[in-house]
């Protein structure tokens, strides 16, 4: 049961100057979703998703678990193609190009749109080889050492690992492994980085480091992050999309739906939908 109080003030604090700011328009779009629906084996997991995602911004996807955040994120770099039962409908434009068009190669898509997973997944190889893996498979073998160093610096990991680049990546801590995965991702110089709950397996200090990193990275990359941690969404993102599970009339089927999408400060201080308010103020989850 959801109890709704009147005039509830959200518990998430946002910097005061944002409090009354009107939602700024998206200047440059990296993604444009029009009526996206994803089905697994013919059953909808998310439905009717229409939104625009800004270039060089951090966009957060929040919502209760099972509402389809990961599903939606995996659409953006065609990782859903790897699940045989998954099917994507609707229109998804990437810089105005149809990402699901007939001439689009999903392998090429993933070179431009990288992904960092929930659980750090370093390869069972040396730290160096982990970062060099992407450039190598793309055939970029010149100046590999510089590429690796640049990527590790970019992921704020260089100082911690520069003396043991040849060591196995499995010897790193969880937080270091996740930053290694980010380094591995930026070594192929993508345009967009997708992150699916990148901090959920990490301690608060590692989480803080990765959040700082995201704010730095958005200078160069567009970032879409899934998180169930609302403080994290409030701290790092420019825009927040709130998804929620919806049931059909007979309560047989359930799917995720976009409830509210706006500037982060608006979503957390003055949401226009009651359900968003309940969620961000911690009353449901």
């Amino acid at each position: 049961m959801v109890v709704v109080l009147k005039e509830q003030t959200p518990k998430i604090s946002v910097r005061p100057e944002f409090q009354q700011a009107a939602a700024p328009q998206i200047k440059e779009k990296v993604f444009e979703l029009n009526g996206i629906e994803v089905l697994y084996g013919g059953v909808s997991a998310v439905k009717d998703i229409s939104m625009e995602i800004g270039h060089k911004e951090v966009t957060a996807l929040i919502g209760p678990s099972g509402c389809g955040k990961s599903t939606l994120l995996r659409c953006l770099n065609r990782m859903n193609d790897l699940i045989p039962t998954a099917e994507v409908q609707g229109e998804l434009l990437y810089h105005g190009e149809d990402l699901y068009g007939p001439n689009v190669d999903p392998v090429q898509v993933r070179k431009l749109i990288g992904m960092v997973f929930q659980k750090p997944n370093p390869f069972p190889k040396s730290i160096y080889d982990n970062v060099a893996f992407g450039p190598r498979v793309l055939g970029r073998k010149d100046g590999l050492d510089e590429t690796v160093e640049k990527a590790l610096r970019g992921a704020a990991l260089w100082d911690e690992v520069k003396d043991r680049l040849k060591d196995n990546a499995f010897g790193l801590s969880g937080g270091q492994q996740q930053r290694l995965c980010i380094a591995r991702c930026i070594a192929v110089e993508p345009d967009v980085i997708l992150m699916d709950e990148p901090c959920s397996a990490l301690d608060p200090i590692s989480t803080g480091k990765i959040e700082d990193l995201m704010i730095e990275l958005k200078e160069q990359y567009s970032i879409v992050i899934v998180t169930h941690n609302m403080q994290q969404a409030a701290r790092v993102s420019d825009r927040t999309a709130f998804l929620m599970v919806e049931l059909d009339a007979e309560e047989h089927n359930r799917w995720g739906r976009l409830v509210e999408y706006d500037a982060t400060e608006k979503v957390f201080t003055n949401p226009s939908d009651k359900r968003t308010e309940d969620y961000v103020s911690g009353k449901v989850g």
Binding site: P84, V107, L112, G114, F123, G134, C181
Partner: protein
């Protein structure tokens, strides 16, 4: 105060009762349970003992009978009906080495290829892929003599028509152990977590690049273990070879495609063992010792390889 003092003895009683119950719960199990446990453990130990005793009896018997024949002649000399004291296993050893080399040549690419198809490419929701899977499991349980008949009909004669040559025997043994290699390779591939494949694909690697640079290297120790175990099985097989032309008495060094016949270790042992003379019996026992040492060494190496190099996730 009054009431409190009056209840004190009763409280003490209650506390003592509770304590003794707890003590009883912590005390030894009932005698019946203890005995049943001991009997069960004893039976299990007996099962292990019977298994080990069989192996031990074989080794001791082979050693007692064969130690007199253990010499370098065993490896360097060809068999001889006239001079058992000089006879050895040379052509059989050379034949067995060539046989297992051929088995590996065939089984490594085909076995790994089939495993890769089934694990990485096949859509297991399709009925034909499930049928293939079930049949590979079944093939691993087919008696080896059936493979001998198959080899005779399809490899020695029939479509391939290779004749009674060593390569035909090799191919027959390869078919026999192929299911083992496929099953072991699939297990090794399956042990590589999906997160590794996803991580690689998400960087823009193709599926083949992902398999070649991530999945295969991580599963090589497991695959190699499976191949060694399969080869050691092939090394010990006799029945199918008898059908596809491992003639029992060969005194020259066999070649893969030579049409004059070939032999293999277990076949030659079988042949010596059939002879009544004491000296041939000793030769057979010595041959068994050699085989046992080689097979134990191969299997130990496989286990060591797995423990040493297997990727832990």
């Amino acid at each position: 105060m009054e009431a409190g003092r009056a209840t004190a003895p009763r409280n003490r009683l209650a506390v003592a009762g509770a304590r003794s119950t707890t003590e009883a719960m912590l005390r030894n199990q009932p005698r019946g349970d203890v005995i049943r446990n001991a009997v069960f453990a004893g039976l299990l130990l007996l099962a292990v003992a019977i298994a080990l005793a069989g192996l031990l009896a074989l080794v001791i018997q082979a050693f007692a009978k064969g130690s007199s024949a253990l010499s370098l002649n065993l490896i360097t000399n060809p068999p001889s009906t006239a001079f058992p004291e000089k006879a050895g296993y040379r052509p059989a050893i050379i034949g067995s080495l060539q046989l297992i080399a051929g088995v590996m040549l065939f089984v490594v690419p085909v076995g790994i290829g089939a495993a890769l198809y089934l694990e990485e490419y096949a859509d297991s929701s399709r009925w034909w892929n499930r049928l293939i899977e079930v049949n590979i499991q079944n093939l691993a349980a087919v008696p080896s003599i059936i493979y001998g008949i198959l080899g005779l009909a399809f490899i020695v004669r029939g479509p391939l028509d290779l004749g009674f040559i060593l390569a035909a025997g090799s191919l027959t043994l390869a078919l026999l152990v192929l299911p083992m290699v496929i099953i072991a390779s699939r297990e090794a591939l399956r042990a590589v977590p999906d997160s590794i494949r996803q991580g690689s694909l998400a960087l823009g690697a193709t599926q083949w690049q992902t398999i070649r640079t991530q999945v295969l290297p991580a599963s090589i120790p497991g695959i190699a273990t499976g191949v060694i175990l399969a080869v050691s099985r092939a090394l010990g097989e006799t029945a199918p070879l008898l059908l596809v032309g491992a003639t029992v008495f060969v005194t020259f060094d066999p070649t893969p495609f030579g049409t004059d016949g070939y032999s293999a270790m277990p076949v030659q042992i079988f042949n010596y063992a059939l002879r009544p003379q004491e000296e041939f019996q000793a030769l057979a026992a010595a041959g068994i010792l050699v085989m046992l040492v080689v097979l134990l060494a191969m299997n130990s190496f496989a286990i060591w390889l797995r423990n040493r190099y297997e990727q832990r996730w």
